[in-house]
Symmetry: C2
Subunit: 338 residues, 2 copies
């Protein structure tokens, strides 16, 4: 049975949402969940549910990282936080994966430096999943702020993204693309021009450069880019969805007079919200860490926590880390690397 260390104090509504998500996961997914957090608080929450017989345990942690803690402060000064304790459980082999809906920067830093990175990985990459027009998923990485990436790091993002996509969405040869400002290679910047040369040499289904709009068109599966670009793309998309949602609500309210019309449109609107809810896709894995790490949205509901646990468990079962290490160490043996 896969064991997941869940940061019970992470999200905006912790530990309630985390406890409920853990119960759903333990019931439906056949995983064992270690709820890591302030024991009395977590116990109190857990006692409100029927959990007898479920593979859920509490692991005590005396400190909590907040959304306003800087990653370095969280890493250096809060060693007894739920996140640190959960990361140590993974480092020491007592859990296979870490799941947290907490402070993203803190999770990235603590996962990277407490659990460590895979030997062949320069920097772990955060991969975000976007629903696209073909009603499939497009993954974009890095969105986790690995700025000023080198071409060889983009190459690693491609290898890790491909393995992740295959493991979770069952596509044998996912289409890998490089985010740029036009399909023509000459059109990119220095980084994309150099990275494209490396990507073409990999044993991947590299389909070339794509533009921003292609992220949503569904003609590619995995889009790689520098973390500065990816993070801006992610935040911009979240902002735009929020903006359009707001406009739409206003437009529906102002133009509908009859109760029935409003009720019917509300249903369409809810459907729209559901489809643009990125938390439904199960959290963003931080690929390249020496233990599976999945980061959920701070606003995760219990279902989103369950989905993040599901993704973590699937990545463990698919032996994603073994595969990443294997492919990257053999890619490193190719002489023509940048």
């Amino acid at each position: 049975m896969t064991t997941i260390a869940l940061d019970a104090m992470g999200g905006d509504h912790a530990p309630r949402v985390e406890v409920e998500g853990a119960i759903l996961a333990a019931r439906e997914l056949g995983v064992r969940v270690l709820l890591v957090g302030v024991e009395a608080t977590v116990r109190h929450e857990l006692d409100r549910h029927k959990v007898r017989g479920l593979p859920i345990e509490i692991v005590n942690a005396t400190d909590v990282i907040t959304m306003t803690d800087s990653p370095s402060h969280a890493f250096r000064r809060k060693k007894e936080s739920s996140l640190h304790v959960a990361a140590r459980l993974v480092r020491d082999g007592q859990a296979e994966a870490l799941v947290s809906a907490g402070n993203t920067g803190a999770v990235m830093t603590i996962a990277r430096f407490v659990i460590g990175t895979l030997p062949s990985v320069d920097r772990p990459a955060l991969a975000a999943a976007f629903p696209n027009m073909k009603e499939k998923i497009s993954v974009i990485l890095d969105v986790g702020a690995n700025v000023d990436s080198k071409p060889a790091q983009i190459e690693q993002f491609a290898v890790m993204g491909e393995i992740y996509y295959r493991a979770i969405w069952g596509v044998k040869r996912p289409r890998i693309a490089l985010l740029s400002i036009g399909e023509e290679e000459a059109k990119g910047n220095e980084l994309t021009r150099e990275a494209a040369i490396l990507l073409k040499q990999l044993p991947l289904n590299f389909v070339g450069n794509v533009e921003g709009r292609d992220v949503f068109r569904g003609n590619v599966d995995v889009v790689v880019c520098d973390g500065f670009i990816g993070n801006i793309a992610l935040k911009l998309s979240e902002g735009l969805v929020e903006h359009i949602g707001g406009m739409l609500k206003k437009a529906i309210k102002s133009s509908l007079r009859s109760q029935i019309g409003y009720a019917l449109s509300k249903r369409a609107f809810d459907e729209f919200r559901k489809r643009t809810d990125y938390s439904e896709t199960g959290g963003a894995p931080l690929l390249g860490v020496r233990g599976i790490t999945v980061i959920g949205h701070g606003r995760s509901n219990p279902n989103a926590i369950k989905n993040a646990i599901r993704v973590a468990a699937e990545l463990c079962r698919a032996r994603v880390n073994e595969k990443i290490e294997q492919e990257l160490s053999s890619a490193a043996a190719v002489p023509a690397r940048g």
Copy 2:
């Protein structure tokens, strides 16, 4: 009377849309329009309307640039194209501004090299206007693919963007921000860290670094970034709006059974479309060219063409180029420049 050289062969439905847009502009805005294109075709289109007494003239051009021509091919090989002829009219002082809904790359290249750049400008920047949540406009530049910008170029984008925003939206001290991955300066990449130092020294209302989501929140007016980032942000936003529009249409159709409900929702949906139609904001100016240049969307309708002409005329009247040159040449005199 301001004279505008309009590339009559530019957009997807040229010259019909251009001719209709020119007529609206000549009627409503008090500008003189030179319709530059294949004379017989443009004349044929113009003859379908009552234009007697309107300040509209046709200037013949024997060639046409298509959407698939590369910018360098268009620039080097199509010297008798409507775009070249229109640019020469501006260069030679027979028109004050160039407006085109044609091939964006070709317009940028031809404007830059035929008309030329202002003496203090390194590279012209394309500025896109986004409607934001406060029902105001946020401008982002460069979106025109000035890749691998230097900090001093970002500084120029800020100066040009501020003058443009003031001229068109009448805000005295627009709030200028630098696009990054967090508010903290330490969080950006090499370029943003260096650019922020320069921006703080300018006599502008620089409010610091913002994230992708802030583009839509309306808490800033002008957002500056490298053209690689800006172009990806623009295309990503267009792609996402298209995607959400499609989803929404589907959701409305599938969930509404009654005719009245559909009709009412349709109205809300149309309102939503209108508000997300970037072409309504009047085209994107290419700032820093030695003559005002405004680029419309290829899918422009006559109203969008009229709006692009309106923006061009307002930029002329506000003497935007004089102001840009003045501010940049005095900024260059400050010793502490990067």
